[in-house]
Amino acid sequence: MEENQGAGRMIHHESMTARPEEIGELIVALLPRLRRFARSLSRNQHDADDLVQVAVERALRHREQFRAGANLASWLFGIMKNAWLDDRRSRARRGEVALPEDSGEHPAVIPGDASTTLWSITEAMNKLPEDQRLAIAFVLVEGMSYKEAAELLEIPIGTLTSRLARGRGALAAALSDQGKGEPA
């Protein structure tokens, strides 16, 4: 219980500096959201968890940059976005092509089943350009407002809106193609 009271204190008393063990417990509480967000940027759960781990370790190394009272979730999502882009770039430099590789996760297709839908959507998202994918991950998966998403992506709201609209169009088209039985 003491840990939890500590967590509450940090949230409500904004001038307090987070102690390492406090920020750690807050991150633990955020892990489900971090994993879900990472899942929308990755081809499978293993890659997603690798991304979360990189982001969490980076956050802890730079915890002094976190302003007490700021939104910890936003800060972590921003770090994860950067970690994801770094990873994409280093893969590209090494000549790894992310696109045609298989996700390795082919669930039995059960129409209407939540895990089948998740698989279809992540396959479709993998075909989107990075900027559109991030817009969709922040707004549709994580449920952020356009303003929050634009701030994290460091772009104007108009740019975010346009990326989101293009991404949604492409996502809808890809899902509709899958529905017609074309190879994913």
Binding site: M1, E3, N4, A7, G8, I11, P20, E21, G24, E25, L26, I27, V28, A29, L30, L31, P32, R33, R35, R36, R39, S40, D49, Q53, V56, E57, L60, N71, L72, A73, S74, I110, P111, G112, D113, A114, T117, L118, S120, I121, I136, V139, L140, V141, E142, G143, M144, S145, Y146, K147, E148, T161, S162, L164, A165, R168, G169, L171, A172, L175
Partner: protein, 251 residues
């Protein structure tokens, strides 16, 4: 009138200011094709939200918990089941729009622990929302809850949580809801005998069977604020409205 796709998308997401929202809402009444385009945006959003929602109920692997605690090796002390975790409220906007305390006091009841009915028990073969004509409408367990469930008597184990019930400016009744295990919140409005869903959104923070009761997400609150007429119904009025089959107040 012609609206570009970005504007219709922002309308569907509850991101437009009131004047623009009203303008488009009026245009939708006249133009089924336009309404269809908005409904497609909502349906895609709902599809994504519902697909990713159940991931929030998955326990994080030890390696991530240990990473967060700054431990290299598995920590000797693990979290006990039933620990209560407080979540930061997401975003300043969520706070700015937070609903009147009085209405939420009853349902917020501090922290609500565990006890999700698993998503799979909700018979995923039976969708809870379908696209009907140009609207997303409730089906299955969601429609049943909107029809029958009262916020004053619902249980923590009910798969759908009902929030506010209120009259709208155009004389209908709407009810906010949350699909507990799907991480989805939304609004249902009874129109022509069906529960239309004008907005859905990811529901606020939750984690491994521990959640904090709080007001609907900003996207849902915005639609509520745009539509509500007067105060939300109290428990007595809610029950009366149910007995009258959710026929909205004639004004």
């Amino acid at each position: 009138m012609n609206f570009d796709d970005e504007t219709l998308m922002a309308f569907a997401d509850g991101e437009l200011d009131e004047a623009r929202r009203a303008e488009i809402a009026a245009a939708l009444e006249q133009d089924p094709a336009l309404a269809q385009r908005v409904a497609r945006h909502r349906a895609l959003r709902a599809q994504v939200t519902e697909a990713f929602g159940p991931l929030l109920d998955e326990p994080a692997p030890d390696r991530l918990v240990n990473a967060a605690r700054g431990a290299r090796k598995p920590a000797a002390k693990t979290r006990r089941d039933g620990d209560v975790v407080q979540f930061p409220v997401r975003g300043s906007r969520a706070r700015a729009l937070s609903w009147r305390g009085r209405e939420w006091g009853a349902m917020a009841a501090s922290l609500v622990l565990g006890g999700f009915i698993g998503w799979k028990l909700l018979a995923p073969s039976e969708p809870m929302m379908v696209l009907s004509g140009s609207s997303l409408v409730a089906r299955g367990a969601l429609a049943a809850a909107l029809d029958q469930q009262l916020a004053s008597t619902q249980l923590e184990s009910d798969p759908v949580r009902i929030g506010l019930t209120f009259d709208t400016r155009d004389g209908h009744l709407c009810r906010s809801f949350e699909l507990r295990s799907a991480g989805t919140a939304g609004l249902g409005c009874k129109v022509d005998g069906e529960w239309r869903i004008p907005v859905t959104s990811e529901a606020p923070a939750r984690s491994g069977g521990v959640r904090q009761a709080e007001s609907p997400p900003p996207a849902v609150l915005q639609v509520i604020e745009a539509r509500i007429s007067g105060e939300p119904l109290d428990a007595v009025a809610e029950e009366k409205a149910r007995d009258a089959d959710w026929i909205g107040a004639k004004r």
